[in-house]
């Protein structure tokens, strides 16, 4: 079993060598002319605007949270996959139920509009992200 991992190790080392050695050689031979444009961050050819240290939109957090939760549940799939053959149908049904519950959660998130980037039915409180109070006061409230 360790031998299998040895193969993987050799493979990984080869991958590293094969990537970094050409890069190293290239840095030796390539000419180097530093201009402001070249030193700038590469953003798909667009001109970068402002600092990278901006505050992100709060939506990122929400999406990240949702991602986090669903992502972590996958942890359970790995041990399941290991014993799937031995346990057969029972394991399949169990995991089906598990995923079904997750899907209900997904449906919930979807319905609540948390997957939409622009969310209309959110009424924020009195803090920084409060919307124009006159627009949304008294409307239905969704969840973050």
């Amino acid at each position: 079993m360790y031998r299998d991992f040895g193969t993987v190790l050799i493979f990984a080392m080869l991958a590293i060598v094969l990537v970094y050695v050409p890069l190293f050689i290239q840095s030796l031979v390539a000419p180097s002319q530093k201009t402001p444009d070249k030193l700038d961050n590469y953003e798909c050819g667009e001109e970068p605007e402002g600092s990278a240290w901006v505050q992100f939109n709060i939506r990122f957090y929400v999406i990240a949270l949702i991602f986090l939760i669903f992502d972590v549940e996958v942890v359970f799939l790995f041990p399941w996959a290991m014993v799937f053959k031995e346990m057969g149908m029972v394991a399949f049904i169990e995991m089906g139920i598990f995923l079904l519950i997750l899907i209900v959660g997904l449906a919930y998130v979807w319905k609540k509009g948390d997957l939409d980037w622009v969310k209309y039915n959110v009424k924020y409180g009195r803090g920084r992200y409060r919307q124009k109070a006159s627009q949304t006061e008294g409307e239905a409230v969704g969840s973050i």
Binding site: I58, L65, D71, V72, P79, G127, Y129
Partner: protein, 101 residues
């Protein structure tokens, strides 16, 4: 590195760092990170014990569950902190002092 003690030391250091973070950091998110450190120190313990103690899988299983729970807890805590931020315009937990004797 294949020595149980080493892992226990690492875990203990991690635990202490977590405690320190929880107690000293003002930022709510940083406090949460401290909590995560504590949880992960326990996780290291579990896995190390399971690996070196010649025990059954319970340690690993426990670690899996802890990961899940840590994620859920982090999600809930972050949501709450965002909500506090919305209302109070701050994530500093010592600014939340309205409720007291």
């Amino acid at each position: 590195m294949d020595n149980l003690q080493t892992y226990l030391y690492i875990s203990a250091i991690l635990f202490s760092l977590g405690l320190y973070g929880v107690i000293t950091r003002r930022n709510g998110i940083a406090v949460l990170m401290g909590v995560e450190l504590i949880l992960n120190s326990a996780n290291i313990n579990f896995v190390a014990f399971a690996r070196f103690g010649g025990m059954n899988f319970s340690g690993q299983v426990f670690a899996l569950f802890v990961i899940i729970m840590a994620a859920a807890e982090a999600a809930v805590a972050l949501a709450i902190i965002i909500n506090v931020f919305n209302n109070l315009d701050t994530v500093n937990i010592d600014d939340a002092r309205e409720l007291k004797l």
